[in-house]
C-alpha cells in the first residue's frame, strides 16, 4: 500500500508537535485550559493518527499493547496514592495542603494537582489507546476503498 503519501508525510510531520502539545496541555493545566483528560486524549490521538496512516501493526511495534494495561493501572494508582499520601500526614484523603504544610503559596496544592492530573492523563491516554487497539485490531488494516 504505497498510497496516501501526502497523508503519511503529514502524519510524520505532525506527530511530534501533537505529542508536545499534549504534554503542554498536561502540565499547563492549572494555568490555562486543559488538564489530564484533554492531554490524555491528545496523546492518544497522535498514536491513533499514526495507526490510521501506517497501519496498526506499525503502531503496535512502536507502542506495544502489552504495556497499556500497566499504564492504565499506574495512572489510577498515582491518583489514588496521592490521596493516600496526604492521609499519612494525618489529613483527609486528597488533602493536598498537607504535602507541603509550611508553604505560603499552597505548594502542596500545586504538587497534588500536578500529580493527580498526571495520573488522569496516563489513565486516559492508555485507556483510549486500549479501546482503539481492540476495535481496530480486529480488522487487519483499513482497506483502500474504505477511506
Amino acid at each position: 500500500m504505497m498510497g496516501h503519501v501526502v497523508l503519511r508525510i503529514t502524519i510524520k510531520i505532525l506527530f511530534a508537535p501533537i505529542t508536545l502539545f499534549a504534554l503542554y496541555v498536561q502540565f499547563h493545566g492549572d494555568y490555562g485550559p486543559g488538564g489530564g483528560f484533554q492531554a490524555g486524549v491528545i496523546f492518544a490521538v497522535a498514536f491513533i493518527m499514526h495507526a490510521l496512516g501506517f497501519g496498526i501493526d506499525k503502531t503496535k511495534q512502536a507502542l506495544p499493547p502489552k504495556v497499556l494495561p500497566a499504564i492504565m493501572v499506574s495512572g489510577v494508582l498515582l491518583y489514588a496514592l496521592t490521596g493516600v499520601w496526604s492521609m499519612f500526614y494525618g489529613g483527609n484523603f486528597l488533602d493536598y495542603d498537607l504535602i507541603q504544610p509550611d508553604s505560603h503559596h499552597h505548594a502542596g496544592q500545586h504538587i497534588g494537582i500536578i500529580l493527580v492530573e498526571f495520573g488522569v492523563g496516563l489513565a486516559v491516554a492508555s485507556t483510549m489507546l486500549t479501546v482503539f487497539y481492540h476495535f481496530a485490531g480486529r480488522e487487519p488494516e483499513i482497506a483502500d476503498e474504505d477511506w
Binding site: 492549572d30 489510577v76 486500549t130 481492540h134 480486529r138
Partner: protein
C-alpha cells in the same frame, strides 16, 4: 479580559452555530451511509465545541473537540469497519404514537426553558451557592489561576477519581468483551459474519483465509 465585541455580533454568531448544529443533526438522521453519519457526528462535536467557546467554557470546548470530534469519530469509524457500511433501510410510514410522544416531550422542554434563568445570571442556582464559594475562595485556598482545574482536581478531587475509575472500567470492559487474544499475538478469531456487500464479501473471505493461514505456516516452518 479587555476585549469588546458587539452584542449583536455574538447573537449572530450563536444563531449561526446553532443553525448549523440543527442542520447537521437533521442530516445525520436522514443520511443512510454510516461513513457520512460518523463524519457528521464529528462535525456536530466540532460545532458544539465552537458553541462552548462562545459561552466562555474553554475547558469543556477543549474536551468536546478532543473527545467528541477526535476520539469518538475514530472509534466509530473503526467500529463501522466491523459492520456494514449502510444502515438497514427503514420501513416508510407514519407512527402517530411516536410523533405524539416527541411533540409532547419537545413542548414540555420548550415550556420549561421559559422558566430558566438568563444566561450568565449570577443569581442562578447553578452559580449562586457553591459556585460563588469556589470563585471567592480559589485564590486564597488553592492559588491556581485556572478555576476549572482547581475545582476539578482539588475541591472535587474525589469526584474526579471516580471519573478516572469510570474510564478505567470502560477500558477493562472493552478488553474483556473484545478479548485481548488477537492483541497479544495469539490466534485471531473470526467470529464476525462476512460483509453484506458481495464484492466486499469475496475480498474479506480472501483476506481472512490469508490471515488465518499465515501463522500456521510460520509455525510449521
Amino acid at each position: 479580559m479587555e476585549y469588546h465585541t458587539e452584542p449583536t455580533q455574538i447573537v449572530v454568531l450563536n444563531l449561526a452555530i446553532l443553525t448549523l448544529l440543527l442542520v447537521t443533526a437533521i442530516t445525520m438522521v436522514r443520511v443512510r451511509r454510516l461513513f457520512a453519519v460518523v463524519m457528521l457526528s464529528g462535525i456536530y462535536s466540532l460545532l458544539s465545541a465552537l458553541f462552548f467557546v462562545s459561552l466562555d467554557a474553554v475547558d469543556v470546548a477543549f474536551t468536546e473537540a478532543a473527545v467528541g470530534a477526535g476520539i469518538s469519530t475514530v472509534l466509530m469509524l473503526s467500529g463501522m469497519l466491523l459492520t456494514a457500511r449502510r444502515e438497514k433501510p427503514v420501513v416508510p410510514g407514519h407512527r402517530p404514537l411516536a410523533l405524539f410522544v416527541c411533540v409532547i416531550t419537545g413542548g414540555v422542554l420548550i415550556w420549561a426553558s421559559t422558566d430558566m434563568p438568563a444566561f450568565g445570571d449570577p443569581e442562578a442556582p447553578a452559580n449562586a451557592y457553591v459556585g460563588k464559594l469556589f470563585i471567592e475562595r480559589t485564590p486564597s485556598d488553592v492559588e491556581v489561576p485556572n478555576l476549572v482545574t482547581a475545582v476539578l482536581a482539588s475541591y472535587r478531587g474525589f469526584d474526579t477519581l471516580g471519573e478516572v475509575l469510570v474510564i478505567f472500567t470502560a477500558g477493562v470492559g472493552v478488553m474483556l468483551l473484545l478479548g485481548s487474544g488477537s492483541i497479544r499475538g495469539g490466534r485471531k478469531r473470526q467470529d464476525i459474519p462476512p460483509q453484506v456487500e458481495p464484492a466486499a464479501d469475496q475480498k474479506a473471505s480472501l483476506d481472512g483465509g490469508k490471515k488465518t493461514a499465515s501463522p500456521q505456516d510460520g509455525g510449521a516452518s
